[in-house]
């Protein structure tokens, strides 16, 4: 219970701190990233990471950049740890660790396009299993944890990792919350297409299998939905 209180206090603190200390608005982001990015790049980053404050959490962005970069897993894990090791002493507090994990799962979700609702309680449960609450976390212990949990591997295990930390993706939430039958007698069908289809024909087959109807009107709808479903994402 005490750890939960501590964690939520830390979270509250995070949200209070982030806008003033770790938050980068567009000018600050452009200044920070320098010539490497264009205004358009900065707009994309803001649209991906901004949660309504008109700025991004720099730590979240840095963790995401680490995740998508190429390098040995130990070096990537060490770099993430360094982001939160503000005193550069090779150690962080337990609260900083929970914030690190929170930033990690958010960054992982954005980097893979699989982000969802964050369950802070789950994150606290998981970190408390591996680290002593309210104790200092050494860099070596963190690296051992990352290695043992096989985190930071985007090629395999991303979904499992997000699930492990209690992240509920929008698609799962929608299908669980939506009724299968509407009050007017029509049928609502939730179909996950993007990850399974690379062509209109492929998407159409997926829909056909899900809908399971020979009605000609359904065929027309199916083709239309398939075209939309596999269309390239719109980027403003």
């Amino acid at each position: 219970m005490k750890s939960l209180v501590t964690f939520f206090f830390a979270l509250q603190l995070t949200f209070l701190i982030i806008p003033s200390e770790f938050g980068l608005d567009k000018p600050a982001l452009l200044d920070f990233l320098g010539d490497a990015v264009t205004v358009s790049d900065a707009d994309l980053l803001l649209s991906a990471f901004d949660r309504g404050a008109g700025m991004i959490n720099a730590l979240e962005f840095l963790v995401a950049a680490v995740l998508v970069s190429e390098g040995e897993r130990a070096l990537k894990a060490a770099t993430i740890f360094d982001c939160f090791d503000f005193s550069s002493k090779g150690e962080i507090t337990y609260d900083e660790l929970t914030i690190l994990v929170l930033c990690f799962v958010r960054a992982l979700g954005i980097a893979t396009g699989m982000h969802g609702d964050v369950d802070e309680t789950k994150i606290e449960e998981r970190t408390a299993k591996s680290f002593a609450v309210n104790k200092i976390v050494k860099k070596a212990d963190f690296l051992t944890y990352v290695d043992g949990a096989e985190l930071l591997n985007l090629n395999t295990g991303t979904k499992e990792c997000l699930f492990y930390f209690g992240i509920v993706q929008a698609a799962e939430k929608t299908s669980n919350d939506s009724p299968s039958d509407l009050t007017d007698g029509s049928q609502a069908v939730e179909i996950k297409i993007r990850e399974d289809a690379t062509s209109v024909a492929g998407a159409s087959v997926i829909i056909e299998n899900a809908v399971n109807s020979s009605d000609p009107s359904v065929s027309l709808i199916r083709e239309g939905v398939a075209s939309v479903a596999i269309a390239p994402p719109f980027v403003a």
Binding site: L44, S47, F49, D82, C83, I110, I193, R194, E195
Partner: protein
């Protein structure tokens, strides 16, 4: 009569934002981290 709610992910837009760094060397990001810490960016 059917009404279909196809699940179309909009999160891909977010993943695209990181393409600038996707597949790049970790050393580049480490330099960013160091710059962030040295300059207290955002403060």
């Amino acid at each position: 009569m059917f009404s279909m709610g196809a699940e179309i992910s909009s999160n891909r837009n977010e993943a695209v934002a990181l393409d600038k760094y996707r597949g790049g060397p970790i050393e580049t990001v480490r330099q960013l981290v160091m710059r962030y810490k040295e300059n207290d960016c955002g403060k």
